[in-house]
C-alpha cells in the first residue's frame, strides 16, 4: 500500500536503553578495531580543534605586542600544521565510521532478511508487507545514523567541551568562570527549544502525512470524483488540510525564529561580560589582550557542542525506537522449524499423502480443522470443496508446511512431514497460490525462479504444456520480456498461466492448487486455464481447492469439508446421489442458471 508510507509517524521515547545498545553492540563487535581507530581519530580532532585560539593568544601577547614581525612565522607554521592535522583526522574519521556503518547495515539487513525468510506464514499473516519493509529499510537506516552521527559524536562533543573548559581554566580561571556562566543558561534554552520543537515537528509531520494520504487517495479515485462531480468538495477538504499544515509550520517557524536570535544574544552577553570584567583584568594586569581574544573565540566554540545536543538527542530516540522494532522481529521464534536429525524420504518419491486426525487453527483456541483424517494414494487428483471458512485453504497451508498441525500428523509416503527438512519437502510438494504472483525480471525467470537446473528448453516446454507459450511468444522479446513489479504489465489470466508453468517446470510429485474463480478472465482464457489444469493434474497426486465447478471435472475424487471436518468423500456422481452437502453446494453454484434460466 503506497498510502501507509506517508503516515508512518514514529513515536519517540527513550533516548538511551542499555539493553538495546548491548544487543546492537553484537553487530558492531566484528569491527571493533576500526571503530577504536575511528574514535581515536575523532578524539585527536577534538584536541587539535582546541589549539587555534591558543595560537591567536600567543601571537597577540607575543610577537604582535612586542612588534617582532618575523616572530609570527613559527606561529603561522604551527597553525597550518594544526589545520592540516585536523583535516586529516576528521576526514579519516568520517570515512572510517561511515564504512563501519555501511558494513553493519549490510550485516543487519541480511540478518533480518534471513530471519524473515525463515518465518512461517502465520508471521506474514500478522505483519503487513509495508511494516516488514520499514524494518529492513528505515529502521536499519536509523541505526546507521545512531552509529555514525549519534553516540560517537556525543562523546566527541563532550571531549571538546571538556577540553575547552580545561584550557580556559589553565589560561585564566577568573575569565573562565565568567565565560562559563552563560553556558548553563544556554543549556536550558536549548532544552526548552528541543521540547517545543519536538512537539511542533511531530504536529507538522502528522499534518503532512494527512495531506499526503488524502492526496494519494484522491489521485487514485480521481475518476470517481469527476464522474460524481465532487471536485468542489475535494478542493475544500484539501484546502482545510493544507491550511492546518501551514498553521503548524508557522508555529515551528516562530519557535525557530525566536531560538536562533536568542542564542546569538546569549553569545553577545558572554562577550560583553568578558569585555567588562576581562577589560578590567587587562587594566589591572591579571589578564592580557591575547587571553581576552582567545576567550571570545573559545566561548563561541563552546556553544556549538551544546547546540548539537538537540539534533543528536532526536537521532538517539529514533534509533532506540527502531532498535526496539527490529529486535521485535528478530525475537520472533520460528514456528515451523527443521528437525535436528532430519529423516529422508524413500526413493523414488511416490506422493502418497495421509492426514491422521489433524487439528489446526490460526488461533489455537479456535481450531479451523477439527480432526481431519484422509488418505490420498499416489497419483490421485482430489478436489476439496466447502463453504468459505470450512478450512480448505488451511489444509493446503498445512500440507506445504506453511503452518504446523496442532494435533495429529501429516505424512508423505509414510514419513511425518515435520521430520523432513522444509527444503526437501517443498521440492516434492509444490503449492500454486491463490493470487498468482509475479516478480520483476523476465518471463523465463518467473518460470524458473532462481533454479538454474531448469534450462530454457524446460521453461519453453512448461509454458507450452500450460498454454502459456502462445501469449508469451506474442510479447516483445518473448521469454525475455521484462515483467514489471508484481507482474503489473500482465493480465490476471496470464499471471495464472505463468504460475502453472512454474509449477510444471519444477515438476513436483504432489501439487496443491488454490483455484480462485477469476471472474475478470474471459471465456477463451478460462478455457485455456482449464485445459492447462487438466494437464497439470494428470498422473500426479494433486489437491485442488476448487471454486469453480468446471475445475471439478478433472478430478478423481471430491472431499467435502464442513466446519473443519470431512463430511463427504467420493466421486462427483456418488456425492450428487447422496443429496447431502455436496448436492446443496452444487445447487447453490448453479443458482444463476436456475434463477435466470
Amino acid at each position: 500500500m503506497s498510502g501507509t508510507r506517508f503516515d508512518d509517524d514514529v513515536i519517540l521515547g527513550k533516548a538511551y536503553d542499555g539493553r538495546l545498545v548491548r544487543r546492537l553492540a553484537v553487530f558492531v563487535a566484528p569491527y571493533w578495531r576500526s571503530l577504536s581507530l575511528a574514535v581515536a581519530l575523532l578524539f585527536g580532532a577534538a584536541f587539535t580543534e582546541i589549539v587555534p585560539p591558543l595560537l591567536v593568544q600567543q601571537a597577540i601577547d607575543g610577537p604582535i605586542s612586542a612588534g617582532r614581525i618575523d616572530g609570527l612565522w613559527p606561529i603561522f607554521g604551527l597553525y597550518a600544521l594544526v589545520l592540516l592535522a585536523t583535516f586529516a583526522l576528521r576526514y579519516g574519521h568520517n570515512y572510517l565510521i561511515n564504512s563501519i556503518g555501511q558494513s553493519v547495515m549490510l550485516d543487519l539487513r541480511t540478518h533480518i532478511f534471513r530471519h524473515i525468510q525463515r518465518m512461517s506464514l502465520s508471521f506474514f499473516d500478522r505483519n503487513p508487507v509495508g511494516r516488514l519493509l520499514t524494518r529492513i529499510t528505515n529502521d536499519v537506516d536509523a541505526l546507521n545514523e545512531f552509529l555514525t552521527q549519534g553516540l560517537v559524536l556525543i562523546l566527541a562533543d563532550t571531549v571538546t567541551l571538556a577540553g575547552i573548559i580545561v584550557v580556559m581554566f589553565a589560561l585564566n580561571w577568573r575569565l573562565a568562570l565568567i565565560s562559563l556562566a552563560t553556558l548553563p543558561v544556554l543549556a536550558v534554552v536549548v532544552a526548552i527549544y528541543q521540547r517545543l520543537m519536538r512537539a511542533t515537528y511531530r504536529l507538522v509531520r502528522q499534518r503532512l502525512a494527512k495531506i499526503n494520504a488524502y492526496l494519494n487517495e484522491q489521485i487514485g479515485g480521481v475518476l470517481v470524483t469527476q464522474l460524481f462531480r465532487r471536485e468542489a468538495h475535494s478542493r475544500a477538504a484539501f484546502a482545510g488540510l493544507s491550511s492546518e499544515y501551514v498553521d503548524a509550520n508557522m508555529r515551528s517557524l516562530l519557535i525557530f525564529s525566536i531560538f536562533m536570535p536568542t542564542v546569538q544574544v546569549m553569545a553577545a552577553i558572554g562577550t560583553a561580560a568578558l569585555l567588562w570584567w576581562g577589560g578590567q583584568g587587562v587594566l589591572a594586569g591579571w589578564a592580557t589582550l591575547g587571553t581576552l581574544t582567545a576567550f571570545v573565540l573559545y566561548t563561541e566554540r563552546a556553544f556549538q557542542p551544546i547546540r548539537n545536543l538537540a539534533e543528536r538527542y532526536t537521532i538517539l530516540q529514533a534509533a532506540m525506537a527502531s532498535a526496539e522494532r527490529i529486535f521485535g522481529v528478530l525475537d520472533t521464534e520460528e514456528e515451523v522449524r527443521d528437525p535436528e536429525h532430519p529423516a529422508t524420504l524413500p526413493q523414488p518419491v511416490r506422493g502418497a499423502i495421509t492426514l491422521e486426525n489433524v487439528v489446526f487453527g490460526y488461533d489455537p483456541a479456535e481450531p479451523v480443522l477439527k480432526g481431519v483424517s484422509l488418505h490420498i494414494p499416489a497419483g490421485q487428483a482430489v478436489a476439496i470443496v466447502g463453504a468459505t471458512g470450512a478450512g480448505k485453504s488451511s489444509l493446503v497451508g498445512l500440507l506445504a508446511r506453511f503452518y504446523d498441525v496442532q494435533q495429529g500428523r501429516i505424512t508423505l509416503d509414510g514419513v511425518d512431514i515435520r521430520t523432513l527438512p522444509q527444503r526437501e519437502l517443498r521440492r516434492h510438494i509444490a503449492a500454486v497460490p491463490q493470487d498468482p504472483v509475479c516478480f520483476s525480471g523476465t518471463i523465463a525467470s518467473n518460470i524458473r525462479l532462481h533454479d538454474d537446473t531448469i534450462d530454457d528448453e524446460r521453461v519453453r516446454w512448461a509454458a507450452e504444456m500450460v498454454n502459456a507459450a502462445a501469449f508469451i511468444e506474442r510479447l516483445p522479446g518473448g521469454y525475455a520480456y521484462e515483467v514489471r513489479e508484481r507482474g503489473a504489465n500482465l493480465s490476471i489470466g496470464q499471471r495464472q498461466l505463468l504460475a502453472f508453468a512454474r509449477a510444471l517446470a519444477f515438476n513436483p510429485e504432489v501439487l496443491l492448487i488454490l483455484d480462485e474463480a477469476t471472474s475478470s478472465v474471459d471465456t477463451a482464457t478460462e478455457a485455456l486455464i482449464q485445459n492447462a489444469l487438466e494437464r497439470l493434474l494428470k498422473g500426479r497426486t494433486s489437491i485442488v481447492i476448487a471454486h469453480r465447478l468446471s475445475t471439478i471435472r478433472h478430478v478423481d475424487r471430491i472431499i467435502v469439508l464442513h466446519k473443519g471436518r470431512v463430511v463427504e468423500d467420493g466421486s462427483h456422481e456418488a456425492l450428487l446421489a447422496r443429496r447431502g452437502f455436496y448436492y446443496r453446494l452444487y445447487q447453490l453454484q448453479f443458482a444463476e442458471q436456475s434463477v435466470t434460466g
Partner: protein, 607 residues
C-alpha cells in the same frame, strides 16, 4: 532555469511582505556588521592608558544592544520571508491539486500515482526550500558579506583583500564537491530503491518463495544487492567525508593568514590591535554565510528542476473540458446513440508501450481530438447503435475487446477519435459536462472507495439523499446484509483506519452509489463479477425494477447476466459482429450462440 519564472506570479501576491522582509534583512546585515566594530573600539581603548571602567561598561552594553537589534531584525526577516514561503507552498499545492482534479484519464494513463505524489511532496518541498531558507539565506549572506566587505575595506585594503578573495573559495569547494556528491547520491538512492523493491516482492510473494524453496537463493540475491549498495555508499563517503573537513581547512587557512598578515601589519604599526580583532570577528560572522551560499547553489538547482516538474503538471491541459457554449441537460430522457464511433489504442494501452512523462501533454482546449503524430491502430471502429430512452443494451466480447473504453465515451471519460456519441440527440462534447455526468450513473469494474464512512461512500453522488432513499439503494444492491457485519453499520469507516471490504462488498457499494444518484442512464461494467452468483441474481432482480424506466448499458462475461437485455451487441476484433436480442442471436448461430453453448456445456459437463 526559466522554470522559476513561473514562480514569480505566486510570489507577486506577497510582494509587500517580501519587500518588508528584505528591508529587515538590509538593516539586520548592517547592524550585525557593527558588532565587530564595537569590539575594535573597546580593544583599542584598552591599549591606551587612562581608560575608565565606565567606558568598558558602555562598550559591553553596546555589544548587547547590537546583538539585540540584530536579533529583532533577523526574527522579523525570517518570519516574513520564510512565512511567505509557506503561503506560496500552500498556493502551489492548491493549484496542483486543482489541476489533478481537472486532468483526464489520458493524463493518468501516462503518469504513475507515485510520480504524481512525488511532485506534490518532494518537488513542492524543494521549491519551498528555495523560497524559505534559500531566499532568506541568500539575502542574509550577500548583505552581510557586502556590509562586512565595506567596513573591512575601509579599515585596511590589503587585509580586506585576503579575506574577501579567499573566503569565497569555501563556497566554491561546497559547490564543486556538493555537485559531484549529488550525482553519486542518485546512484546510491537508485540502488536503495532496488533493495526495497526486492524485499517488497519477496515479502508479498512469500508463499511462492516458500512453495518453491527459494529462500536461500533469494537471500543470496538480496545480499548481493546490499553489497553493491555498500560499495556505492563507500564511494559516496569518500567524497562526502571530505566536504566539511575541507571547508574547515579553507576557512581555517584564511584565519591563519589574517593572523600572519594582520599581525605583521600590527607589529609594523600599520594596523591597530583592535582592527585586527575586528577582522577576526568578521571571519566568524562570515563563516556561516559562506557555507549557506554554497548550499544555496544546490537548493537553487534542485528548486529549479522541481519547479520544472511542477510546471509540467500545472501547464498540462485536460483534453476533456466543458465546451465553451455548453448546452444544459436539465432533464435527460436517456436516449443514447453511437454514430460511427472509432477509438485508437493509446500508446500506453498497447502491449509493450511505455508510459511517457507528463511533459508530452498536448496543450489545447479544443474538444475535437488532434491527429497524433504516431498514428496507432484502431481499437474499435464503425461502432453505431441507438438505445431508445428506457431500454437496455448489453455488450459482450473477449477481454481487451474495448467494452469498457466504449462505455467510457458516454460520460466523456475520454472522447472518440472519430464519430459521435449523442445523448438525447446532442453530441456529448457539446453538453455541459456536469449535467452530462449527472445523467450517467456508472458502476465500474473496479470500485474505488474513499477512506470516509460507508454512508458517505454510498451517498457520494447524492450527498443530500434522505435516509429512505439511502435505505432503498442499500437494499437493492444487497449491501444491507453486509452492514450487519460492520461494527458501526453504515457509519463504519472504510479503509486503513476502518474495515476492509471484500471485492463483492465493494461492488455492492458501487451499485448502491449509482442507484442513489438516480441517473437517467445506468452503466454496469462487469459490475457483478466479484459477487457470488446467488447474490448476483438477487441484485439483478432488484436492478430490473430500477432499470425499467431508465436507459441501461450492461457489460458482462456471462450470458445469464445479459440475456434479458433489449439489444445485445457482440464485439470482436474492434467491430460489432452481431446484434439483436438473445433469441435472435441464438438463431443467428454465430459467436454469441457459441458462447452460450460453451456455458451450457460447462454446466452439463459438471453434472
Amino acid at each position: 532555469m526559466s522554470h522559476l519564472r513561473h514562480l514569480l506570479p505566486y510570489m507577486a501576491r506577497y510582494r509587500w511582505t517580501l519587500l518588508a522582509g528584505l528591508v529587515c534583512a538590509v538593516i539586520g546585515a548592517a547592524v550585525s556588521a557593527l558588532g565587530p566594530y564595537v569590539l575594535r573600539l573597546a580593544v583599542d581603548d584598552l591599549g591606551r592608558s587612562g581608560i575608565v571602567t565606565a567606558t568598558l561598561l558602555r562598550y559591553s552594553g553596546l555589544v548587547i544592544v547590537v546583538a539585540l537589534a540584530d536579533g529583532v531584525f533577523k526574527f522579523l526577516q525570517r518570519m516574513l520571508i520564510a512565512g511567505v514561503s509557506y503561503h506560496v507552498e500552500y498556493d502551489l499545492r492548491a493549484a496542483l491539486f486543482d489541476r489533478y482534479l481537472r486532468l483526464d484519464q489520458s493524463f493518468y494513463g501516462r503518469n504513475h500515482t507515485g510520480d504524481l505524489m512525488a511532485r506534490a511532496t518532494n518537488d513542492l518541498s524543494a521549491v519551498r526550500q528555495l523560497l524559505g531558507p534559500g531566499l532568506n539565506g541568500t539575502a542574509t549572506a550577500l548583505l552581510t558579506f557586502a556590509a562586512a566587505a565595506a567596513l573591512m575595506l575601509a579599515v585596511n585594503v590589503t587585509l580586506a583583500l585576503v579575506v574577501l578573495l579567499l573566503m569565497p573559495l569555501s563556497t566554491l569547494i561546497f559547490v564543486l564537491v556538493g555537485g559531484r556528491m549529488r550525482a553519486l547520491f542518485t546512484s546510491v538512492q537508485d540502488q536503495f530503491g532496488n533493495i526495497s523493491t526486492r524485499a517488497q516482492e519477496n515479502f508479498s510473494g512469500i508463499r511462492t518463495v516458500k512453495a518453491y524453496a527459494q529462500e536461500e537463493a533469494e537471500l543470496a540475491v538480496f545480499t548481493e544487492d546490499n553489497r553493491r549498495y555498500r560499495e556505492l555508499n563507500l564511494r559516496y563517503v569518500l567524497l562526502s567525508g571530505a566536504l566539511w573537513p575541507s571547508m574547515a581547512l579553507c576557512l581555517g587557512t584564511v584565519a591563519a593568514l589574517v593572523l600572519l598578515v594582520g599581525g605583521r601589519l600590527v607589529a609594523g604599526g600599520e594596523l591597530t590591535l583592535g582592527e585586527l580583532v575586528q577582522f577576526n570577528a568578521y571571519l566568524g560572522l562570515l563563516t556561516f554565510p559562506m557555507i549557506i551560499l554554497g548550499w544555496m547553489v544546490s537548493l537553487y538547482q534542485q528548486g529549479a528542476a522541481s519547479m520544472g516538474r511542477l510546471n509540467e503538471v500545472l501547464h498540462a491541459h485536460p483534453m476533456i473540458v466543458n465546451p465553451p457554449a455548453a448546452l444544459p441537460l436539465p432533464a435527460p430522457h436517456g436516449e443514447v446513440e453511437y454514430r460511427g464511433v472509432g477509438i485508437r489504442f493509446d500508446a500506453n494501452e498497447e502491449p509493450g508501450g511505455h508510459r511517457t512523462s507528463a511533459e508530452k501533454v498536448v496543450a489545447g482546449d479544443n474538444p475535437v481530438p488532434q491527429p497524433s503524430t504516431t498514428r496507432s491502430a484502431w481499437m474499435l471502429r464503425d461502432i453505431s447503435f441507438t438505445i431508445p430512452a428506457g431500454s437496455s443494451l448489453a455488450i459482450v466480447g473477449a477481454t481487451g475487446a474495448g467494452k469498457t473504453t466504449l462505455v467510457n465515451l458516454l460520460a466523456r471519460v475520454r472522447d472518440p477519435d472519430e464519430g459521435q456519441v449523442l445523448v438525447d440527440g446532442i453530441d456529448v462534447r457539446r453538453l455541459d459536462l456536469a449535467d452530462l455526468r449527472r445523467a450517467v450513473g456508472y458502476v465500474p469494474q473496479e470500485t474505488f472507495l474513499f477512506s470516509v464512512p460507508l454512508r458517505e461512500n454510498v451517498a457520494f453522488g447524492a450527498p443530500d439523499a434522505s435516509d429512505e432513499e439511502l435505505e432503498r439503494a442499500v437494499s437493492i444492491s444487497r449491501l444491507a446484509n453486509d452492514l450487519e457485519q460492520f461494527p458501526d453499520g453504515i457509519a463504519t469507516m472504510v479503509g486503513e483506519r476502518g474495515v476492509t471490504l471484500s471485492g463483492g462488498q465493494k461492488q455492492r457499494v458501487a451499485i448502491a452509489r449509482a442507484v442513489l444518484s438516480s441517473p437517467a442512464i445506468l452503466v454496469l461494467d462487469d459490475a457483478l463479477s466479484s459477487v457470488d452468483t446467488h447474490t448476483a441474481a438477487q441484485i439483478l432482480e432488484g436492478l430490473r425494477e430500477i432499470m425499467r424506466n431508465r436507459t441501461s448499458i450492461i457489460i458482462a462475461q456471462r450470458i445469464a447476466t445479459v440475456r434479458e437485455a433489449n439489444q445485445i451487441i457482440v464485439l470482436h476484433e474492434g467491430r460489432i459482429v452481431e446484434r439483436g436480442t438473445h433469441a435472435e442471436l441464438l438463431q443467428a448461430n454465430g459467436r454469441y450462440a457459441a458462447m452460450y453453448r460453451r456455458e451450457l456445456l460447462e454446466a452439463e459437463l459438471s453434472e
